[in-house]
């Protein structure tokens, strides 16, 4: 197998969101695509109580060498894939650095503190400005809105993976995605997932 190259080694990705957004599934698919390329992949994730409406992060460590720890150290994230706007900010506060790339789905999910009126959800334009200031490059996508057009908001996670393919920092493409889902998903579910992946690619192309 030809050895893939990475912009940095290990290359560190955080997929973040809120419990129920399909974050864990997205990290498995991304991890599997890269592992099939012969890369060493470690994924750290938190399940359980934090799943219930809490913030959920998956840490991916991608390397041509050995296994890295399942938790990215402070300030060492290279790509944030955020399924929810404020979650991107939460990740940047701990793991961000001036060279980080951010892909952010702009559909808010209100925490119960916001629903109850005890806290305010920030203005979306303000969040975009903050993320722009704290990153080297960023893309703001309407993945959930597009996913609803496909019939289920859960496709937002696959669109974000498609978007990650389009920015070209990691060695995977549509063929790799198709190969991984053909192993893990029943045939009738594949075409919608492929469409979601393609829509993610297009969202980045039209944003850029």
């Amino acid at each position: 197998m030809q050895q893939e190259t990475l912009p940095l080694d290990p290359y560190n990705v955080i997929i973040t969101g809120v419990g129920g957004q399909g974050n864990v599934m997205a990290s498995r698919i991304l991890g599997n695509m890269l592992s099939r390329k012969g890369l060493s992949v470690t994924i750290g994730e938190t399940f359980g109580a934090s799943q219930r409406g809490g913030s959920v992060m998956s840490h991916l460590r991608i390397s041509t060498g050995s296994t890295w720890s399942p938790q990215i150290p402070r300030g060492q994230c290279h790509l944030v894939i955020s399924l929810e706007p404020t979650e991107a900010m939460r990740v940047l506060a701990t793991y961000g650095n001036p060279h980080v790339n951010v892909l952010c789905n702009m559909r808010p999910i209100h925490a119960i503190g916001v629903i109850s009126g005890d806290q305010q959800y920030p203005d979306l334009d303000a969040i975009s400005t903050w993320i722009t200031e704290l990153s080297e490059a960023c893309w703001f996508l309407e993945a959930t809105t597009k996913a609803l057009e496909l019939g289920n908001p859960i496709f937002g996670n696959i669109m974000m993976i498609g978007a990650a393919a389009a920015i070209g920092v990691l060695p995977f493409d549509r063929e790799d995605f198709e190969a991984v889902i053909s192993e893990s998903l029943p045939a009738e579910k594949r075409s919608l997932n492929l469409r979601a992946f393609d829509m993610g690619i297009r969202m980045v192309q039209s944003a850029g």
Binding site: S40, V41, T42, I43, Q71, I109, P153
Partner: protein
């Protein structure tokens, strides 16, 4: 066929730590596996259950961890390789049997796999199973990565057969619930024949009866077995050193902390100053190996999670070896270089190393981190834990809470472990007032229910989940009935072990492998024991409240079973019962009942408050259509329409 079986020898796969452990057991030819669900351990039994028919395994979700250990031990006594799996609390539950088992010994290889949860990421405690290995005098192994998780399990079976005793392989959340690359070994083709030989003399470990008697003799035999294990540990490839021949500092670690330590050394660039001794065989420590490495540096940092278990054991060895290796300076938890609570990570190791080696480390420019913290601190709302949209528990606690308030005698609710533990938080209206181990709510209620003679008049309620009811609540229920404690038990029956992923339990008509199984009915069971029993649907708050008040009138033990399937269950997911909407013209907003009752008090994540219009709204992405908010809206502005 499952990927766990399909992979050929020598192929490389991305596996969750728990899947790697399951694959290791399959490569060892395991025949019997039993456990009780508990994060982060559950996927081990699930994975094995999924392949049980192809591999001729017997896999069960036992009623609790003690029974799981007994079921697994039966397999071992009959000559089969067996495994039992649980989260850290489970070892406490099973320890009574384990103490006997460890003295008795085993026949077919038997491996105990506890998965600890340092940092309590999914637990109500961060207790540790490692101490049990020392207390029970059994060997302890701890994998340092995903490949080792698989390989170590296989070796543990061999070691168990060699010493004829149970071997503990301890995992942690960051291995069990993380994923990494694993190269598969061979799946054996072996015949699995069960026969329990018991007609030999009492002292014959292979042909005789299995017991801890005579205790002092068997205990001595057990300690000889442990010495045999130590001899194996001296040569084990799971212990490895990397670094200079004579380092300035020796870092000793194991488990997931090995990966954090390796990364910390790499980020600080101190590979030429710090030696890294990674131990996989962590108890008892092999003295020759320890002599060799404690001899290369007189400064030692021990990196491990929570209590300084490894550190204390190393200090004992260092004291014993003192005349040979000279005095050592330790930098560890007892000296305050690392915390004794919470999980470990690379940053904590970096901080400890920086302090010891007098280094400064800046992960990112100071200006960046200050600005990032400022922006997120000012603008990002916290995300408190909450019951899911459409969770039956929110509805149950709404009614229990309101009923106790209306009753007015300062009644309270005792709880235990499950998603419903969150009722101690605002999402459950702070209804739970005690929260301890599985089944403890009913045990405490049983005690509170006997305090009337000292003037206590408060109504006592206990809640318990359906799986927990069978696991640990039954003896407490029997105790309460027998002693005529005046209490009301609410069984929150959501048809599965929901918190850990819908594993089966004895109340369901299906077993771990998906086969039909006789279900034990909670209502019949409680009635047979003499309780007054009622059933209601938590999504019918009026009937539920009426029933609760009716039960409060009876003396003795009352049971209310609230039946409604978990919103995340495979049967229910993606199937809305109702389309829910808000009639903006009817919604009273801030002038409603107690000011935005639905969003301010009930606060289901499927609701939103529309600041501009001053009315409530439904979040179509989150709402699962349970219709409960329509039942509580005082003005009838929230409408529900049945989905055809």
């Amino acid at each position: 066929m499952s990927a766990i079986l399909k992979g050929k020898e020598g192929t490389r796969h991305l596996l969750m730590g728990n899947e790697a452990i399951a694959r290791g057991a399959l490569e060892a030819g395991v025949a019997v596996a039993a456990g009780y669900p508990g994060t982060p351990s559950s996927e081990i039994i699930e994975t094995l259950a999924g392949v049980s028919s192809q591999q001729n395994l017997y896999v069960e979700w036992s009623v609790n961890e003690k029974v799981a250990m007994e079921v697994a031990a039966a397999g071992s006594f009959a000559g089969l390789r067996s495994m039992c799996v649980m989260k850290q609390n489970g070892v406490n539950v099973g320890s009574d049997f384990l103490l006997h088992l460890a003295i008795t010994g085993t026949r077919g290889g038997m491996v105990l796999v506890p998965c600890d949860d340092p940092g309590a990421l999914s637990s109500a405690n961060e207790g540790e199973s490692r101490h049990f290995a020392r207390m029970l005098e059994i060997p302890l192994l701890e994998p340092g990565d995903f490949q080792e998780a698989k390989d170590m399990i296989k070796w543990a079976f061999e070691l168990s057969e060699q010493i004829q005793n149970v071997v503990m392989v301890r995992s942690v959340t960051r291995l069990s619930h993380a994923s990494g690359n694993v190269v598969f070994g061979k799946l054996p083709e072996i015949e699995k024949n069960a026969f329990f030989a018991h007609e030999g003399p009492i002292l014959d470990p292979i042909q005789g009866p299995m017991s801890s008697l005579p205790v002092v003799y068997k205990h001595g035999q057990q300690q000889k077995k442990l010495k045999q294990a130590v001899a194996e540990f001296e040569e084990s490839g799971f212990n490895a050193y990397s670094g200079p021949p004579v380092p300035e500092l020796l870092l000793i670690t194991g488990s997931a902390c090995f990966l954090y330590s390796k990364e910390a050394i790499s980020l600080l660039g101190v590979e030429d100053r710090v030696g890294l001794l990674k131990l996989g065989t962590t108890w008892p420590l092999p003295p020759k190996l320890m002599e060799k490495y404690l001899g290369i540096s007189d400064r030692i940092l021990v990196v491990e999670e929570v209590i300084p278990f490894l550190e204390e054991n190393i200090k004992i060895v260092a004291a014993e070896l003192g005349p040979k290796i000279g005095p050592h300076t330790f930098f560890g938890k007892r000296e305050g270089y690392l915390p004794q609570a919470g999980e470990m990570n690379s940053d904590l190791v970096i901080a400890a190393l920086s302090k010891i080696l007098d280094l400064t480390y800046e992960a990112v420019p100071q200006a960046y981190s200050a600005r990032a913290r400022e922006l997120s601190g000012a603008g990002v709302p916290g995300r408190d834990l909450t019951f899911c949209a459409g969770c039956p528990h929110r509805a149950s606690f709404w009614t229990i809470h309101n009923s106790l308030q209306m009753d007015g005698r300062q009644g309270f609710v005792c709880g235990d472990i499950g998603c419903y533990s969150m009722a101690i938080l605002p999402t459950g209206f702070n209804t739970l007032k005690t929260l301890h181990a599985m089944g403890s709510g009913i045990g405490l209620a049983s005690g509170f229910g006997k305090l009337a003679q000292f003037g206590m008049e408060q109504p006592v309620v206990a809640v318990v989940g359906d799986s927990t009811f069978f696991h640990a609540a039954l003896p407490a229920v029997i105790n309460a009935i027998h002693h005529q404690a005046d209490i009301t038990i609410v069984v929150l029956d959501n048809s599965g072990t929901a918190m850990t992923g819908f594993q089966s339990h004895p109340g369901l008509p299906v077993d771990a492998a998906g086969n039909a199984a006789p279900a034990i009915d909670v209502v019949n069971l409680c009635e047979a024991m003499g309780a007054t029993v009622r059933v209601s649907d938590p999504f019918d708050p009026e009937k539920t409240q009426r029933t609760l008040f009716e039960l409060f009138e009876f003396q003795g033990l009352k049971v209310l079973v609230l039946k409604q399937i978990c919103a995340l269950s495979p049967e229910k997911k993606a199937k809305k019962m109702f389309e829910v909407s808000v009639d903006e013209n009817v919604c009273l907003g801030q002038t409603c009942g107690c000011n935005q009752l639905c969003t301010r008090i009930f606060k289901c994540p499927g609701l939103n408050w529309d600041n501009e219009k001053g009315v409530s709204s439904i979040d179509e992405v989150i709402c699962v259509g349970c219709g409960m908010c329509a039942s509580i809206c005082p003005s009838g502005a929230i409408r529900k329409k049945e989905v055809a």
